[in-house]
């Protein structure tokens, strides 16, 4: 698995879409993801009154279908790096948009969930950098992937129980991600020394 594939944080649904639909579609990872981003971007920039939770959910669905299928087309390429930041930005802002539309009072809970997810996403990068090992695949399955989270948020928003979902998501995922990371460091031995190091960690700004 490449670093970029780990950074994507695909769940079971995106992986399945990539394996099935991704093979059949005529476009590559970058154009598919960009196409999938169109509807969410329209929903995000539209005035709040003109958008409903259902509409935001449909936009999320479009992103899941196209962006998920794109996971099967991931290849090293000159623009491959654009996909993961775009997925992150869309995932976080869609979660926020759905919360604002469905339950404006639950935005602080959304922040808590985003913080838990951010921990996981940074942890994957830093562990790959320092341990040379990515977090195990089951953490991605438990997290549901970016596609599972935005779809579930839309469903819970429509059902009117988004606040419960955000609390459970933040607490459960936060606990699982932190605990798993701590466990990995307790088991990390000297044997796993990477054979590369950069004199200056310039990316860390």
């Amino acid at each position: 698995m490449t670093a970029l594939a780990v950074y994507r944080d695909d769940g079971p649904l995106a992986t399945w879409l990539g394996r099935t639909a991704g093979r059949a579609l005529p476009a590559g990872e970058v154009p598919l993801t960009l196409a999938g981003a169109l509807a969410p971007v329209a929903v995000l920039v539209a005035p709040a009154r003109s958008v409903s939770v259902a509409l935001a959910g449909l936009a999320a669905l479009a992103l899941v279908l196209l962006g998920g299928a794109a996971s099967g087309r991931a290849r090293p390429g000159r623009f491959a790096w654009t996909v993961t930041p775009l997925l992150r930005l869309l995932e976080y802002t869609l979660l926020l948009k759905i919360t604002v539309l469905a339950e404006p009072g639950a935005v602080p809970l959304c922040y808590a969930l985003l913080a838990a997810l951010a921990f996981h996403h940074y942890d994957a990068v830093y562990r790959l950098r320092h341990q040379r090992v990515a977090p195990p695949a089951w953490t991605r399955a438990v997290g549901g992937g970016w596609e599972g989270r935005i779809l579930l948020a839309a469903v819970l928003g429509l059902a009117g129980v988004l606040d419960v979902g955000l609390v459970v998501g933040a607490v459960v995922l936060g606990t699982v991600y932190v605990a798993e990371s701590v466990r990995s460091w307790l088991h990390f031995g000297r044997a796993a020394r990477p054979n590369l190091y950069e004199d200056e960690d310039v990316q860390d700004a």
């Binding site: 490449t2 670093a3 970029l4 950074y7 090293p76 000159r78 623009f79 491959a80 790096w81 654009t82 996909v83 993961t84 930041p85 775009l86 992150r88 930005l89 976080y92 802002t93 926020l96 604002v100 935005v107 602080p108 959304c110 922040y111 985003l114 913080a115 951010a118 921990f119 996403h121 940074y122 942890d123 990068v125 830093y126 562990r127 950098r129 320092h130 341990q131 460091w185 990390f188 020394r193 054979n195 590369l196 190091y197 950069e198 004199d199 200056e200 960690d201 310039v202 990316q203 860390d204 700004a205």
Partner: protein, 604 residues
């Protein structure tokens, strides 16, 4: 850790004696070097020297604490063969070094005592320090090219200073390279001879230019040098000495063998420490005087400061945080403890912001700056005391992010409580934007790592990194494929005195009309990649002047600037202003960094 060393005392000084026994600080250069290596865990040393110098070397190392074996060898090919034998017998880490170098112990420690480096070299980016050393090129922490007297590297960005640490995992690769190089040195290929001659000409022209500069105060343009300029007697003697030293420089050859053999070789930079390779008694005396003028601890402290850091960090935090780092080092604090303290102070800052009162916001601003200072201290302490750990690096990064996002939450709580203003949506936008901005950096870097892994190396008998065919009258012609391979490389800046093809006929110069099938330069500059290359060139040009270089870094809103922005706006205004500033500046930074990288990707 137990280490053994392989030293080459094969270079002759001006008086014909080995340069390794030149007097330095009351001992010999090689004795001093081995003493320094001894304090860095070297217990055994093999010293390769000429048969007639064995006595002198044995006398020089008679009092050494290390177990020394002196090996007599008749020439370069034999030196390399002996190196292969020593490498095959090594069971632990092997230090390979030129035996006549004079350097600060801390410079050697930077390479040998840094646990992050498995196989690595001592290097310098300074043209002045590296003027008689061979160039190397590294990309993202890994050497992708190295030169020797007989091998060339293009687009070099540092110089190899003759000290190399080889991990047990790479010792076999070193031995295999040495064996092959020994065969080649016994009967040097034509391309090796041509490369040596090319370097000699280049050094001659460089000495000539330096002499003109001394005499007239005007630095001549590189192209102004005549083909084979006459030098003053002193320069002529220096050139002869350096040329003789280069011919037997086995350490650089072994490095070429390792790099072209596919080893992961990292670099440890000299920073401000002293380094010289004196080849005469007068030069050794001068080196000793120069070295005495450098305060080693002061340099060690300065070297602990990250060199490529943000503007705010470099000018407002590091100048004093390094003294806190030294204070912490003297009290035996660990970097991880400092990281944890910084995280606690950051949490206290978030709690102060969460009160929402003016006093709380001001206290939070001050605490956040204190936390950030401690954040700089932990890294400087780690570099100063060389206590690096993988966990420490992870903690440092995760705590940085944790502090920042905790402070966002504190500010959002404070805004609701103190100002009746719900800014949670802005807080969510801020965390989304900042995480996505970091992801741009991470993903772009990951993509480039992949590109480097695909680099393939030329075999050792070829002098050049790119394919060069030597034709009948021994004039090298760049093969068509090689020229095409080189062209993208030339889009970047070519270090002027590192990679100019001088013995090549004009028609074969990569910047000339090389292969008939290629479009003329004007047409090549057209089209999207050409335009993108112009854009990349313009951005790269900003690196040339300090003001624009700093402006570039400030625009990208690095952590120091971010934390300063949070402190100032929170203390003087409201959390809403803080988030608006973070989102506004952060968006500009995102557009700038994504735009620049898209341009680079198009130009690739």
């Amino acid at each position: 850790m137990s280490r053994s060393a392989l030293l080459f005392a094969t270079t002759a000084a001006a008086d014909g004696a080995p340069a390794a026994v030149l007097p330095v600080g009351g001992e010999t250069a090689v004795g001093r070097l081995l003493g320094q290596l001894g304090t860095l865990g070297v217990r055994r040393a093999s010293v390769i020297t000429r048969p007639e110098w064995v006595g002198a070397i044995e006398a020089a190392l008679a009092g050494s604490a290390a177990e020394v074996a002196v090996i007599a060898s008749g020439g370069l090919a034999e030196d390399l063969g002996a190196a292969a034998t020593v490498a095959r017998a090594a069971r632990d880490e092997l230090v390979v070094a030129t035996g006549d170098i004079v350097a600060h112990r801390e410079a050697l420690a930077g390479l040998l005592a840094d646990p992050r480096i498995n196989t690595g070299i001592l290097a310098t980016a300074s043209r002045q320090r590296g003027r008689w050393s061979f160039a190397t090129r590294s990309a993202r922490g890994r050497l992708v090219g190295a030169a020797s007297a007989y091998h060339r590297v293009r687009r070099g960005n540092a110089f190899f200073l003759g000290v190399m640490k080889v991990d047990p995992a790479d010792v076999e690769r070193l031995a295999a390279g040495a064996t092959r190089l020994a065969e080649l040195a016994a009967d040097p290929p034509a391309s090796w001879e041509l490369e040596l001659a090319r370097k000699g000409e280049e050094w001659r022209r460089r000495l000539w230019r330096a002499a003109v500069l001394r005499a007239t105060g005007i630095s001549p343009e590189p192209d102004d040098a005549p083909e084979a300029p006459e030098l003053e007697a002193e320069d002529e003697a220096e050139l002869a000495l350096r040329d003789r030293a280069a011919r037997v420089d086995a350490t650089s050859l072994l490095l070429v063998g390792l790099v072209r053999g596919g080893a992961h070789v990292s670099s440890s930079y000299l920073r401000g420490f002293f380094y010289a390779r004196p080849l005469s008694a007068a030069a050794a005396r001068a080196a000793e005087d120069d070295m005495r003028e450098v305060d080693e601890d002061r340099v060690a402290l300065d070297a602990a400061v990250k060199s490529a850091d943000g503007f705010f960090t470099t000018f407002f935090v590091s100048p004093y945080s390094k003294y806190i780092a030294r204070f912490a080092a003297r009290r035996g604090w660990t970097p991880n403890a400092v990281s944890a303290v910084a995280m606690l102070i950051g949490a206290a800052a978030a709690a102060a912001f969460a009160t929402g009162s003016r006093a709380g916001l001001i206290a939070g601003a001050v605490l956040l700056q204190a936390a950030f200072t401690m954040d700089c201290v932990d890294g400087q302490l780690a570099r100063y005391t060389r206590t690096f750990s993988k966990l420490g690096a992870w903690l440092d990064s995760v705590f940085d992010r944790g502090k920042e996002y905790l402070v966002y939450a504190g500010l959002a709580i404070g805004s609701t409580r103190g100002f009746g203003d719900d800014v949670w949506t802005l807080a969510c936008c801020a965390i989304a934007l900042q995480t996505a901005r970091h992801m741009v950096d991470f993903s772009y870097a990951a993509g480039r790592h992949h590109a480097i892994a695909e680099t393939s190396h030329r075999p050792l008998e070829e002098a050049d990194e790119i394919a060069v065919a030597v034709d009948a009258d021994r004039r090298p012609e760049l093969a068509g494929a090689g020229v095409r391979a080189l062209r993208p490389a030339l889009a970047g800046s070519v270090a002027p005195d590192l990679g100019r093809p001088s013995v090549l006929p004009a028609s074969a110069r990569p910047d000339g009309p090389a292969d008939a099938g290629a479009a003329p330069p004007a047409a090549r500059a057209m089209g999207l990649p050409g335009l993108a290359r112009l854009g990349v060139g313009a951005i790269t040009a900003l690196e040339r002047w300090p003001a624009s270089r700093w402006a570039k870094r400030i625009v990208s809103l690095p952590i120091g600037e971010r934390f300063a922005l949070i402190s100032v706006t929170a203390a003087a205004a409201t959390p809403r202003v803080t988030f608006s500033a973070l989102l506004g500046w952060g968006s500009v930074a995102a557009v700038y960094s994504v735009g620049g990288r898209v341009l680079r990707s198009v130009a690739r």
